[in-house]
């Protein structure tokens, strides 16, 4: 890898964990269920970024591209399922508060 590449690599290597941290922070400290899902999505975008950058620095961007597309498809499925879950939760509790889903303990 050339010098600019290394700099770019370092940039990506720093940016990605930032996204991860933002996502984890969002999941852990929010009181809104939808915000939890958004946090998951942020983390997923971070991974996408990482994958793309790795593909670029690897010299095989097309492989990375296929990976990313598959990943997005799978994420969409997961997202749909989570939307269904949230919908039903809201129907049961009539609120979007995460404190309602801390019932199972012990």
């Amino acid at each position: 890898m050339s010098v600019e590449n290394i700099l770019l690599f370092k940039l990506y290597i720093i940016a990605t964990p930032v996204l991860f941290l933002v996502g984890i922070y969002a999941i852990m400290t929010t009181r809104n269920i939808i915000a939890t899902i958004i946090g998951i999505e942020i983390m997923t975008k971070g991974v996408t970024l990482l994958l793309a950058s790795c593909g670029y620095f690897n010299g095989r961007p097309e492989m990375a591209q296929s990976f990313i597309i598959i990943m997005i498809v799978v994420e969409v499925v997961i997202l749909t399922i989570s939307a269904g879950l949230i919908f039903n939760i809201v129907k049961k509790h009539d609120s979007l508060d995460t404190r309602n889903i801390r019932n199972l303990k012990g």
């Binding site: 999941i27 939890t36 983390m43 620095f57 492989m63 990976f67 990943m71 499925v77 039903n88 049961k92």
Partner: protein, 474 residues
């Protein structure tokens, strides 16, 4: 090559069930699905290359990069058994026809995903199939839409997504260094660059992700809730297969075929495994809810599997696989018993039950046998696998862990005995006089799983030679 059939047939079955032209009743769906499970179970015993050309041609259009391995064939057998049990429990527990139909579809999809997971040779495909299984699990847990189930499913979703993210990032870094994602490329890379800190970090992340999915302490937060709140057939399926495959089987596959064993990684495995065993057993002791106690027991037993695996030798891997098989069987048996209890008694707080052994003889006997197998009492199968794990640790010079494993058996006996006394033995509580034995489907499954435990335990030498050695040395 014909193993792609294992994935394709369930897929096609689901498609076939859901064509918009006709409706298939739930019972027929159940029947066909259980038939498929039986076929899959028997395919383990058939020789590898039995194909017929016509099917071969048809299937070659859909061919994925599959290879077969001894471990994979054993996992095929296991998943078939557990899916069969789950479908039969479903048949006994759910009355609504539509619900049965939905369940069967989802379980078939999940089974397709699992079978795929057993045969892939590519890290990214591993991710894809894990996601398939996970997606169906989320839906399965919450399918009855009661409050606790939704909450449990949501927690599972969140934590599993975090795990997925970790796995994906690790895959990305490995892809960066190796240039490809199939097993061969990555293992070559690992042999070359294995000492690099970035690569090690990637491997560690991957392991953590798999721990979260597999339910190893301290990454197990979603597990007790999910096992507790899921409906009965889903609990059977979840406990028996999903955590094992997505978590532990993937771990074994990765380390067996891709990475080698490294002392540092081995110690990670061992430490977390022992924490899991001990704390899991402790948490199970004072539980009041039957299913929750079984969940913590699962955490403890998964710790045993990882402990055996962390020994690092081929013998350790064989021990781990055997214990995985045994644990699937007897944990499913226990959850089937809990399904029977749920159906007949309708109370899930153990302190309110008592003296049910006289009313439900099959359930109590099979649960006793299952717990004896968990605790590792000869001559049941659990004893042999635990013995193998302890021996593997001892010969690999990790005597401390072997001692921890042995001492934890005492804890296992503790919660087992408490539960037996509370639920089955003791005086009959009032209001339970009319309790009858569970319906035939459930008792049939219990007896079948119990028979497998006992037979595997008694015929251990044959099992050792036939299954395990061929699995490991394939």
């Amino acid at each position: 090559m014909s193993f792609s059939l294992a994935v394709l047939i369930p897929l096609f079955l689901v498609l076939f069930f859901n064509l918009p032209f006709y409706r298939i009743s739930g019972k027929i769906a159940v029947f066909i699905a259980s038939l498929f499970c039986i076929v899959q179970a028997f395919s383990f015993f058939l020789p590898v290359n039995a194909t017929c050309p016509a099917v071969q041609n048809l299937v070659s259009y859909f061919m994925l990069d599959f290879q077969c391995d001894g471990i994979s064939r054993l996992m095929l057998l296991t998943s078939a058994i557990v899916a069969f049990a789950s479908i039969l429990v479903l048949y006994a527990m759910e009355d609504s026809d539509r619900k049965q139909f939905n369940f069967v579809n989802l379980i078939l999809l999940s089974l397709a995903g699992m079978n795929g997971l057993f045969f892939v040779r590519d890290i990214f495909s591993v991710y894809v199939f894990i996601e398939v299984i996970a997606a169906t699990s989320y839906i399965l847990i919450a399918i009855n839409k009661d409050k606790n189930a939704l909450e449990a499913s949501f927690k599972y979703l969140v934590m599993s997504s975090v795990a997925t993210v970790m796995m994906l990032s690790s895959i990305a870094i490995l892809f960066l260094v190796a240039g490809g994602t199939d097993f061969v490329t990555v293992s070559n890379m690992y042999q070359q660059y294995g000492g690099n800190s970035l690569v090690t970090a990637a491997v560690v992340l991957f392991i953590v992700g798999l721990f979260i999915k597999g339910g190893v302490m301290p990454f197990h937060g979603w597990l007790p809730d999910s096992y507790l709140a899921a409906p009965a057939p889903v609990s059977v399926y979840l406990a028996g297969m999903v955590t094992k495959t997505t978590g532990i089987y993937t771990l074994i596959r990765l380390f067996y075929s891709v990475f080698g064993f490294n002392t540092a990684i081995q110690s990670i495995l061992l430490i977390f495994a022992s924490i899991s065993i001990v704390l899991g057993a402790f948490a199970a002791i004072n539980q009041n809810n039957f299913k929750r106690m079984l969940a913590y027991s699962s955490i403890s037993q998964v710790g045993y599997i990882v402990l055996g695996f962390g020994a690092g030798t081929t013998f350790g891997v064989a021990a781990a696989i055997f214990h995985l098989f045994n644990h699937s069987v007897f944990k499913s048996l226990l959850f089937v018993n809990s399904a029977a209890l749920e159906k007949q008694v309708n109370v899930s707080d153990m302190s309110e039950m008592g003296g049910l052994a006289s009313k439900m003889p099959v359930t109590s006997t099979t649960s006793v046998i299952a717990f004896l197998s968990t605790a590792g009492i000869p001559p049941l199968s659990g004893f042999w696998s635990k013995l193998m794990i302890i021996l593997a640790l001892w010969t690999a010079d990790l005597k401390v862990y072997a001692v921890i494993a042995i001492l934890a058996s005492i804890l296992t006996m503790t919660y087992f005995l408490i539960m037996q006394k509370k639920v089955f033995f003791g005086r009959l509580k009032e209001g339970f006089e009319n309790v009858k034995e569970a319906p035939l489907a459930i008792t049939f499954v219990s007896i079948l799983l119990c028979a497998i435990t006992v037979v595997v335990g008694l015929l251990f030498p044959f099992v050792l030679n036939g299954l395990i050695n061929s699995a490991v040395s394939f």
